[in-house]
């Protein structure tokens, strides 16, 4: 079936099997491999993207369900001049990533969290990230990144 959606500001239109998951569509059809797959039970959040500005686990959404929607992936976050946006920058400054595998999902989840709640407490961030797993950082610096980016995110949107 034909599916069309906007991905990082570009209109994409492709023929896909009805059972194609959004994550597979993004990775294999659109060719954006920044979004990762970490599990097969909707548990890890490595596949988190923004769907109309809200974070979703793209392994639980069919590509067809996202038809006509606006998708943002890690590839779509940097500022127009190529510089890192405030969340990305906070991750680098706070050492919020190690192996990087959970990172795209974490960055998207935090972007969504800060849009909904621009000034979260540490507790808000921790609870908000419950569905995003990381094995490297112990979450300490991911939480620090989110808090460092809070308050500055909306200014840049």
């Amino acid at each position: 079936m034909k599916v069309a959606m906007t991905v990082n500001g570009t209109l994409e239109s492709h023929d896909v099997e009805a059972r194609t998951l959004l994550v597979d569509y993004l990775r294999n059809v659109v060719g954006l491999t920044g979004t990762n797959i970490g599990c097969d039970t909707t548990s890890c959040g490595a596949c988190t993207v923004l769907l109309n500005g809200q974070s979703v686990k793209s392994c639980t959404v069919l590509a067809a369900q996202a038809a006509g929607d606006d998708i943002t992936t890690i590839e779509g976050l940097a500022l127009e001049d190529g510089r890192l946006n405030p969340v990305q920058q906070a991750f680098q400054e706070c050492h919020g990533l190690q192996c990087g595998y959970c990172t795209p999902g974490m960055v998207m989840a935090i972007t969504s969290l800060l849009t909904e709640n621009p000034h979260p407490t540490e507790e808000d961030v921790r609870v908000g990230l419950e569905g995003n797993l990381c094995r490297c950082t112990g979450y300490h610096n991911i939480v620090a990144s989110a808090l460092a980016a809070s308050g500055v995110v909306e200014m840049h949107q």
Partner: protein
Amino acid sequence: MSILGNRVVRREDPKFLTVGGTYVADLDLPGSVYLTFVRSSMAHAKLLSVDTSGAKAMPGVVAVYTNDDLGIARMPTIMGMTNEAMTQPMLASGTVRYVGEPIVAIVAESREIAADALEAVVVEYEPLTVVIDPAEARKDNDLLFPDAGTNTTFTLDFGGDEALFDDCEVVVELTLINQRVAPCPMEGRSAAAHMTKDGRLEFNSATQAPHGVRDGLAGFLGLEPDKVHVVTPDVGGGFGAKASVYPEDIVVGWCAVHLGRPVRWTETRSESMLGLGHGRAQLQHVRMGGTRGGVISAYRIDVLQDCGAYPAFGAVLPFMTRVMTSGPYKIPKAEFGSVSVVTNSTPTTAYRGAGRPEATAAIERTMDVFAREIEMDPAELRRRNLIGKDEFPYTTPTETVYDVGDYHQALELALEVAGYDELRAKQARRRASGDPIQIGIGLSCYVEITNGLPDGEFGAVEVRPDGKIIVRTGTSPHGQGHVTAWSMLVAEQMGVPIEDIEVIYGDTDVVPRGAGTMGSRSLQIGGAAVNQAAVDVVEKAKDLAADLFEADREDIVLDKSNASFHVIGTPAVSKSWGELAKAAVAKDGNPLFAEVDLASPGPTFPFGTHISVVEVDVETGKVTLLRHIAVDDAGRILNPLLAEGQVHGGIAQGVAQALLEEVVYDPDGNPLTSTFADYSFISAAELPSFETRFTETPTPINALGAKGIGESGTIGSTPALHNAVCDAVAHLGVRHVDMPTTPIRVWNAINDAAPHHDAKNTTKKGGR
């Protein structure tokens, strides 16, 4: 001004933050076929028949193989130490021995077709008796390998002093479960292989040890090592479980060679939970003796190690446990014994700490039980028994030589950061009030061994004519930040900005040798090799500069503030690195470079003290971690930002073991935790931010003064949290709660203790 010791942010990060890394599954390999494995659904069974005809007939299926088709040798024994009759075939042959064991390899045009073809393979099993409990396995009633005549694959016995505890006023005895856990790197195992036009096998691997993979492939496939090219793209974590070659890797390589098409394999998480090695899995019996005044004089630990179905690195974990038997304490007599047995479960392997967390968990938990027995504060008991800072190098009763340390300093700093006395006072108030939310404080003093295996490491530095510096390293980072760290070392020695330095790793064609990244070895041996290469290249540059300036070699100085060489006293006339690189080429056609194969100068022994503070709801058994204080000493710290990151991740994994993670099998050997929905992977919501501090006691073992920091967090944290939970309910008569300290276990322990409160804490006195 030195760059060393600064919080330099990672140069690696921008690509991960803008386009995501490039992991094996992200590689674009046109014309690829997809490999998947039919895996055993039985824990122990004879394979009566394997019918692959249906799968073979499916459109889009390229090939279907069983073990007989491959003709590849079995996996070797581990370091020559495990039983020869217990090795693993590439694919199950005749018998399956754990749920998840690969039986059939299917190659198809797409992942979807491969998945469909899996369903079409019909395997007929004849069930055999399942052995899942290692204590049962040890009895040899039912054998996994009848030819071996036993389930035991490896034993150690150090000491057999019948009178070990005879002089002791107090002896405590404890049985501890260091439960099986899953390493869970966020990226599972993955490989992509193809034959190049010049007839070489190019193999992309999510591994911690690319050269080990190269040698493994070459050996199993009968290729010369130079006909195999292994590349690690970005690797999404490893934690020890990706340090060795798996049968699946070899099958991927074999298929690429035999099919002549690019072959890719990426395991699903559910496969990974069964196929990637598990960690820990020790049953420990511990005895500790000493005086009522708190002097520990004798200690013995006996380990029953669960190897899973085929002895892998897990079988020899007790070796490392033995090395660290007596921990940071001055115990005159310490003994160790171990038996490693096979069971019908996933093979165990190295997992962050690999044998040392188990040693620390045993002695630290026992210290607390001993302290309680003699009614002494656990901090005081530790203080009285720690090895003093003037006693190094210190040789333990199990003949390990600790390099250097100031264990008391780490303990005192941790107590100070925690506000220990105030915490104890608060705990006393809480106990007195009868509040259902009780406070527990747990300590753990640890020492561990890093770079414990004998391998050296390769490092090279080359100066390009444009002044850019190329660094090659045999380590294989997968999150540790070697690009940044090695750049700092080179910048320090050569005076160049880190932006001008490129660090190359994980490519066996470009880096000729390497042992990889595991065992917290990288900085102290790999970083030290790169550092030495930078020192050597400075010396070579001075030779060249002396020629160019027609000056005395001794008068040449490197001005690190502007990365140029001049004759002492005449800084106005100078040569840059680029100019000297050109001069080198002009002289004899060779670039300006230095290569170092640094032999291992031996291991180092990081140490520290961790303190956990928990709340336990005695009505529900629920544990909440409030604070975790970590004081770690890894010698001189190169980059505190990176070192803290290592500690944070380690703490989370260590805490997770004490708090909630556990791989569980039912009595029939069915895994009950084979997805992320079932396995209690720790999340941000269950953890606080950590309070970390470093003390720096440089080691004399290497030029950097550095010890390993990769595993300290895991080693120190598990017993601290475990002790904290037990401490929170100790006043209720609970002597011990097994890990993981889940609500049900804690609740049961409280309820079991209540009626016979006093009977539990009797002094046991006696021999071994």
